[in-house]
Symmetry: C2
Subunit: 351 residues, 2 copies
Amino acid sequence: MSKKILRTWKHLLPALVLMVLSCKQESGDAALEGSNEEATVASADPLPSWNEGAAKSAIIEFVTAATTEGSDGFIPVKDRIATFDNDGNLWAEQPVYFQLLFAIDRIKLMAEQHPEWKNEEPYKSILEGNLKNIEAQGMQGIVKLVMTTHAGMSPQEFRKIVQDWMAFATHPKTGKPYNQMIYEPMLELLNYLRDHEFKTFIVSGGGVEFMRAWAEVTYGIPPYQVVGSSIKTEFVIENGQAVIKRLPEMEFIDDKEGKPIGINRFIGKIPVFASGNSDGDLQMLLFSDSRDPSFQLYLHHTDSIREWAYDRDSHIGKLDKGLDEALARGWTVIDMANDWKTVFPETNNDE
Amino acid sequence: MSKKILRTWKHLLPALVLMVLSCKQESGDAALEGSNEEATVASADPLPSWNEGAAKSAIIEFVTAATTEGSDGFIPVKDRIATFDNDGNLWAEQPVYFQLLFAIDRIKLMAEQHPEWKNEEPYKSILEGNLKNIEAQGMQGIVKLVMTTHAGMSPQEFRKIVQDWMAFATHPKTGKPYNQMIYEPMLELLNYLRDHEFKTFIVSGGGVEFMRAWAEVTYGIPPYQVVGSSIKTEFVIENGQAVIKRLPEMEFIDDKEGKPIGINRFIGKIPVFASGNSDGDLQMLLFSDSRDPSFQLYLHHTDSIREWAYDRDSHIGKLDKGLDEALARGWTVIDMANDWKTVFPETNNDE
């Protein structure tokens, strides 16, 4: 097993132990309704969920210049590439990455077909809700958990599993479906950029197929514009039919240095707009900053009331070096508490 | 060094020996003018370079159904993914893959800075035009050749090198710039599909950065819609600037089983339209055929006068199993000699 996955999942452990596992299995079909159309409704203000301030002004100034021929900041349409981290940037990431909550929910669901799991770690501890035990098992347990829940099927089958989960699972703290835990101001930003002929890409440490399962409906971002971590696959002919199978082995970790490497591999252009929220995004923002004109955006989680407040010492979404670099380089930093009028979309189905 | 690259380049050797190395270094700046706009000129016939016949009818029938709501063959816009092999499918591939001719030209150009190459293989033989000697060196020579010419710089620098070559190098037999060795009927097909809201992707065994350097101008296909073979890269900070560096080590071979694997990894959808010309495309066509409705297209090189005639026994672009499978599965096969009114674009600069 790759050392990289061990490194990647390592910082999840302490948070895992803190995790509240009160996933209510309520119906939430309406949750799959994308809210991204709403933001395109004609309006004098392209970013109505943003308070007036430095962040909003800087974004509008950049986009206006990028789309004004003859301006110093003009960017030809073919180079208007915008990349967005996902966890903690387009949707929330507390108390732990939602993909890990998916894996744990999946184990519970699969347990019926696996009576032996009652005596086998890490399944035993998950089924008993005893997360302290998982910590004691170290990385081996986490890796086993992910590979059991993410491999062995085709990408199409896996996406169906994720979509079913998305339709019914709810967040342990807010009780909302996970696709309602997305940031309304970021949806507006995605639409604002697309309205100005930017191509919007996700570039995230999350699993690429996990995100592809809902990103098109939720964010309006198609599968071929999602860059993420991946496991290996193989091509097989099964009953005369060509099929891709997902294998229990890591292929690529799209985090830190992996982000610019993934951008180069999948997109093949240096983004002129890069948006993230943690030190894991720093290399992507630096890569974008190697281009001129370009725009770098950090989301600083400062809102302990409407969301969560965390930065330099957080187990998840740690923003430390990135914050220093942003100040030194004059990047734009969103102060969530002050810059966002609303955080999550207002929907009819979460009251 | 990976065994895969050895396998991939192995079939090039016999052809390499046959290769005519009469590359005239003439000016050809006008060559970078894309001809893809021409085909979009409004016309009653969307495929004017195609003779009436089974291939043309089948294509038009498929696209008409795919874009007619309520028809059995209707395909939603979001699933209109079309994948095209490049070598021998969008442009010619004889007497050898043009990328190998690029590598050889590059060695000659780099030789000034490498006086030691006069006594070092495989450079010595290339510089002396003695290609029989390269055969004697086996794969090691070929791999050394490719890594010397393709690695050690950023992707941006590499593309500039390819673009400079494209502007000046000419094909040993026809004397045309290589970007005039593209197939006019296939340009029309790309445009026809795009006019009907298909996304067109290249999925080729060729190097991804080699193709990205000119595919946008020549075919109208942007870098993020090019899937190809790749070498590894690393992320470094050089003089305070973030840079990707190309490393002399294979990462991915986008051929045979690699094609559906690459399609899944980069595109994340099963193509509804797949077009190729060799056994290396068979797995891609089978993968596409796992979807319904879908369309599979093979180009059969039957034109020894205007192009080259080759199939089951060819060193390059061998079409053997693929032809059998096409007949058995009812795929559409283009008979170049009979189905194409013109082969290469008519330009002002190649007379």
